[in-house]
Amino acid sequence: MTPDLLIVDDNLQFLAVARRLLEGEGMNVVGVASTSADALRYANELHPDVALVDVDLGEESGFDLARQLTEGGKGRRVILISAYPAQDLEDLIEMSPAAGFLPKSQLSARAILDLLALTDDHDAR
């Protein structure tokens, strides 16, 4: 079963493009948000299984939002995304409760499912 997705990014063009791509690849995008407040509200209303969160939400921090989203919903998982390279953010990603990180340019249904499967394996062990 494909998970319900929420995409959070302050760049509206990216939100639209990412939604089209992922839906085209068979994913179920239940909502998109461009601020932390919207993201938290949609998370409560739409109950997504996975939230894709940009680490850089203008003045707000995606890392903070990732923490709030995982603490606020049981079983809800967060994948951090960014146009910054993973290398630069490695420590911060490790410290965050997010399931993982995907570079924005590498975003795809396959990449998301692989990452989730990887962490499932990890959790099962």
């Binding site: 760049n11 063009q13 990216f14 493009v17 990412a18 089209r20 791509l21 085209g24 690849e25 680490v55 850089d56 921090s61 890392f63 146009a83 910054y84 390279p85 290398q87 630069d88 953010l89 490695e90 420590d91 911060l92 924005k104 340019s105 590498q106 975003l107 795809s108």
Partner: protein
């Protein structure tokens, strides 16, 4: 006291003591010895005892050495001429030696102040030294240095009192106005004196009366052409201060002006360096931001759109799919280049996670293996983090490019006082921070934050960089 004993006693002793050897000594010898005593007396006790020595010497000689002996009468004109010459030369020596002594003391005091000025001591230290040296040198009981404000006040910057105590205290702000010395100097920009305090008025005069000032001299301090403040020397005696007091004070105010101008120049230079570094950082931050939010995001969206288009192409059109995949790959590589450029312009990761994650990321990327000892568990002001980041970046680049090092050891420690950074490599050394290298820029950056950067790079024994940056408590 010693001067008087010497001045009166020694000539008597010489004249009386030389009596048994009169034939071999002669009047000239006795008078010559007495002149030496006059000089010594003037050096020890000043002009008055020295003149007394001349008087005693001439009387004793007339009585004991000049025929008829035992009487003040002088029989031969030659003897009279010798005695008169002795008096003239003796008084001359007394005055000259005293003057020379004063001059030597003044020069010594000026030299002490000049030494302090020359080693770029903080202005407060120079102010205190001048107040004290002038106080000790002149026949005064107190000295003060005041800085004129733009709001019609004067701030006491140094205060010396022969009897001890610090009234008015340094830092005291006194309103100008009324009839008093400081106000007069502030208004006229010239030296002034005050010998009667009965008619004085204003806040400054209240302070002057409190400390018992009875006669005083004030001299303006001009720094780079503008009236900076005033130096006051005051006595608790009724009698006016010596005529040359203004002149004496002026010698010291000239030195003060130099010290103040130097200090102001230095702090202006430091402030301008801070502005330059801050402005450059601000510009770089903006460029990085624009690159990230603009170009980079558009390229990301484009590459996703390309992939969306790719999925719409029927699987059998392998040529088109391969072409699209090639373009997507090219885009990804362009994005990576852009990331590299953006990171070189401004380390955005610093703003997110601070120095620890940024230095860790550096260590992972570094071409030379890095041993990292990171004790930076707290955030620092952004400018400090940026400076430390650039130091690490430059050191790692040098280690890889020029030093051909096989390992770099980085130590980062942060505490309440500031940041300590120690970077050592085992490369070939010989880095020169004074020639056109990135190290100059680093030093500017570190010093603009009040920090220090030390480079040790002997040829053949690696390069080490030690950086400390304080965190301003204000």
């Amino acid at each position: 006291m010693l001067g008087w004993v010497l001045g009166v006693g020694a000539p008597t002793l010489i004249v009386v003591g030389s009596l048994p050897f009169r034939s071999s000594f002669g009047l000239a010898g006795v008078l010559f010895l007495t002149l030496l005593i006059v000089a010594a007396t003037s050096m020890v006790g000043g002009v008055r005892p020295a003149v007394a020595a001349v008087a005693v010497g001439v009387l004793a000689a007339a009585l004991a050495d000049v025929p008829p002996t035992g009487s003040l009468r002088v029989q031969y004109q030659g003897d009279l001429a010798a005695l008169l010459a002795f008096v003239v030369v003796g008084v001359g020596i007394a005055l000259l030696v005293d003057e020379l002594g004063e001059l030597a003391e003044q020069q010594a005091a000026l030299r002490r102040v000049a030494t302090i000025v020359a080693r770029d001591a903080p202005p407060d230290e120079v102010f205190a030294a001048v107040a004290e040296q002038v106080g000790e040198l002149l026949p005064v009981d107190m000295t003060n240095l005041g800085r004129f404000g733009t709001d019609g006040t004067m701030t006491v910057v140094a205060s010396w009192n022969r009897a001890g105590g610090t009234i008015p205290a340094v830092g005291t702000v006194i309103a100008l106005g009324g009839r008093n010395l400081s106000t007069l100097v502030a208004q006229t920009g010239t030296s002034a004196r005050m010998d009667r305090y009965e008619e004085s008025s204003g806040a400054v005069s209240t302070v002057a009366r409190t400390v018992g000032s009875r006669s005083a001299v004030g001299t303006p301090i001009f720094v780079a052409g503008h009236l900076w403040g005033v130096m006051i020397a005051a006595s608790i005696q009724e009698r006016p201060l010596p005529r040359d007091t203004e002149e004496q004070l002026a010698r010291f105010t000239d030195l003060l002006a130099t010290a103040i101008a130097n200090a102001e120049g230095r702090s202006e230079l430091a402030a301008s360096r801070v502005r330059v570094v801050t402005a450059a950082d601000e510009a770089r931050r903006r460029i990085e931001r624009d690159l990230h939010d603009g170009t980079q995001q558009r390229l990301v969206s484009l590459s996703l759109e390309l992939r969306t288009a790719e999925t719409a192409v029927p699987p059998e059109m392998t040529d088109v799919r391969a072409q699209l995949a090639g373009v997507a790959q090219g885009l990804t590589e362009a994005l990576e280049d852009l990331q590299e450029i953006a990171r070189g312009i401004h380390p955005a990761v610093l703003a997110k996670g601070g120095l620890g994650p940024a230095v860790n990321a550096f260590a992972r990327r570094s071409a030379v293996p890095v041993e990292l000892d990171l004790r930076a568990d707290r955030r620092l002001p952004e400018r400090v983090e940026v400076a430390a980041y650039y130091v690490v970046a430059e050191a790692l680049t040098n280690a890889a490019k020029h030093a051909h090092a096989s390992v770099v050891h980085i130590e980062v420690a942060v505490d309440d006082l500031g940041l300590q950074l120690m970077i050592r490599d085992d490369g070939r050394g010989g880095a020169d921070a004074t020639r056109g290298s990135g190290l100059i820029g680093l030093r500017d950056r570190v010093e603009s934050l009040g920090g220090r950067l030390e480079i040790t790079s002997a040829v053949g024994s690696g390069t080490s960089l030690a950086v400390t940056i304080p965190i301003a408590t204000s």
